[in-house]
């Protein structure tokens, strides 16, 4: 019996000791600098891995100690690990919420502890957040408009497939797109209908529009799923040659479709840049500099 107790004790002491030593050296070396906590929603998705890597890269460059916790898509786990970061007295918290509502309690705990909170990619529906950093969907919509205008030599008829009405993505992408198109007097948006970000719906809505409009030069869909659905409808109507389709999000299928020449373009988010900008903003917050409550992150047009 005694041997076993000693065995357990040894294993635990060694494990904790090894981890502890690593940490102690780190702590003493960087005690002077800033300590920022980053709570990511998951690391099982390349988007959020890029986000984390971007943040880590920037933190290293700025000499900031970045403590990262991963919620594995579990809102309860995220709350626990945010509380752990609060215990560690981080100077600023960067949170990429699993869920905008569930994260509010954790943000309120941070507020109570006087730790400023920044949200990334997904926002929070409560608590005090000093800055939100997310893709600039308005700018993305405008990029799509400019691309289509160039493709059509600034003259033609365009269809807009909208996302779920009322969602911020659909609103912002539509706003940017319509504002962009207005700058070209000879381009006209002849139809805009919601297809709810859904591939099947994108196809049926497009089928209907194809029936009623004999002259269409381009389609802008608020996301790739709808764009890919629309491409199917256009192909079935045998009008692929005359219609240029542009999507949004750069999902794998869409990027493949762009390579194959079926989809003209899609607009990609830059998660790595999002992470970098979050750390930069956190540094400003920690140094009591003013930051905007929303920092848009530029997007990238993918055409090949």
């Amino acid at each position: 019996m005694r041997n076993k107790l000693i065995a357990i004790a040894l294993i635990l002491v060694v494990a904790v000791g090894v981890l502890g030593c690593q940490n102690n050296t780190k702590q003493s070396k960087e005690k002077e600098g800033l300590k920022i906590g980053l709570a990511v929603s998951t690391q099982n998705n390349p988007f959020f891995v890029d986000l984390k890597n971007g943040a880590e890269k920037k933190a290293k460059k700025l000499g900031i100690e970045l403590l990262t916790v991963d919620a594995q898509d579990d809102a309860a786990k995220q709350q626990n690990s945010i509380e752990d970061l609060i215990m560690k007295e981080v100077d600023v918290l960067i949170i990429n919420p699993v869920d905008g509502d569930a994260v509010v309690s954790a943000i309120e705990s941070a507020n109570e502890a006087d730790i400023p909170v920044i949200t990334v990619d997904r926002g929070a529906n409560g608590g005090e957040v000093v800055s939100h950093i997310a893709s600039d969907n308005v700018e993305g919509g405008k990029m799509a408009a400019d691309f289509i205008a160039k493709k059509l030599n600034e003259k033609g008829k365009v269809v807009e497939l909208e996302g779920i009405p009322g969602t911020s993505a659909a609103r912002d992408r539509g706003k940017g797109f319509n504002k962009g198109i207005k700058e070209y007097g000879d381009i006209e948006v002849i139809a805009n209908q919601p297809a709810d970000f859904n591939r099947a719906k994108g196809m049926t809505v497009m089928e209907n529009i194809l029936q009623s409009e004999s002259n269409i030069d381009a389609v802008f869909a608020h996301n790739d799923s709808m764009a890919l659905g629309a491409i199917e409808a256009i192909k079935a109507a045998d009008r692929s040659d005359e219609i240029t389709v542009v999507g949004f999000d750069a999902i794998d299928d869409a990027v493949k479709s762009v390579k194959e020449g079926k989809l003209a373009a899609t607009i990609a988010q830059k998660p790595g840049l999002m992470g970098e900008m979050a750390v930069e903003t956190a540094k400003k917050v920690a140094n009591d500099k003013k930051v905007k409550d929303y920092t848009p992150v530029p997007l990238k047009l993918i055409t090949e």
């Binding site: 076993k4 004790a9 030593c21 752990d84 215990m87 560690k88 569930a102 309690s105």
Partner: protein, 306 residues
């Protein structure tokens, strides 16, 4: 034997606490220890129910999904304007009924517990997703949130609930005939039956307790997050089983106790908290948790063979 195995996990816990106190300045503070207690409350309550089931040599893989369904049902009634009392009762009832279904299939229909609760795990998750359309339900009255976020003195309410349930489970297992029957069935079901114990009722009750406590956890989780998540509780059954096994309860049934389970839950919770404080990535946290479980079972096996 009982005393020694309890002693063993207790020693592991103490060593862990001492090690972490040296490794991180933030660990051994009253604030952090209360933080840990609140963090483990959900897993501990699930693990208490799991202890009953495992003592009868069964297993309950459906606790995480039952938690999610209870939490979604309670949340939807709350946001639908029903009184808090009714909403909570409905959540608890859902867990209890699913537990009853598990128990009847295992005890009466003689189906293997592993398969029954695996099926229930899928059913409860499917119902949760269907009922919620896959969307979280959020925004409850302050009165309900207190259950998850409130304090009495400086002790969080989930911790108080956990301690109350611990005491009740301890008394049931140690001081009542029902508790003795649970051990007797896990030790030797035929012998228990021959000595006049209604084994079907006792076994079914173990699953009912597990389902009921999954309901309790679901209500607390919703209150703590101020949101019921359709994906909540995914993988929690394994954490609960891990806590029970770390606490020295034998998966073969008949041996173990509830004090071991709370110690097991503490070890897992402190491990997560400590590794977060030490800035260890969640991937390695998972490795560490797995390693500790394997070591514990290895030592348990060896001590049994001796």
């Amino acid at each position: 034997m009982d005393l020694i195995s309890r002693f063993k996990s207790g020693i592991g816990l103490i060593v862990l606490v001492i090690g972490l106190s040296f490794a991180s300045d933030y660990f051994l503070t009253v604030h952090n220890l209360i933080n840990v207690a609140r963090q483990i409350s959900i897993n501990a309550i699930l693990a208490f129910g799991m202890t009953f089931v495992i003592l009868t040599s069964g297993i309950d893989l459906s606790v995480g999904s039952m938690l999610a369904l209870s939490s979604i049902i309670t949340a939807s009634l709350l946001t639908g304007g029903y009184p808090i009392f009714i909403a909570i009762l409905a959540g608890l009832l859902v867990g209890t009924l699913l537990g009853l279904a598990n128990g009847l299939m295992v005890a009466k229909a003689k189906m293997p517990a592993f398969i029954v609760t695996l099926g229930m795990m899928a059913i409860a998750r499917g119902l949760t997703l269907d009922y919620s359309n896959g969307r979280p339900i959020s925004g409850f009255d302050e009165g309900f949130r207190i259950i998850g976020a409130g304090h009495i003195g400086f002790i969080p309410i989930p911790v108080i609930v956990m301690i109350l349930i611990l005491l009740i489970c301890y008394i049931i297992l140690k001081k009542t005939p029902f508790g003795r029957y649970i051990y007797a069935i896990g030790g030797n079901e035929n012998a228990a039956k021959l000595s006049g114990i209604n084994t079907d009722v006792v076994k079914t009750s173990a699953y009912v307790i597990s389902g009921f406590l999954a309901g309790v956890s679901g209500v607390i989780l919703a209150a703590r997050l101020n949101s019921a998540q359709p994906t909540a509780g995914t993988g929690y059954e394994l954490n609960a089983i891990a806590a029970v096994v770390l606490g020295g309860t034998s998966l073969a049934g008949g041996r173990g106790n509830i004090i071991g389970t709370i110690i097991g839950a503490l070890i897992i919770g402190i491990l997560h908290n400590g590794l977060n404080l030490l800035d260890v990535s969640s991937f390695y946290q998972s490795v560490a948790k797995g390693a500790v479980i394997l070591v514990a079972v290895f030592l348990d096996r060896r001590s049994k063979r001796n």
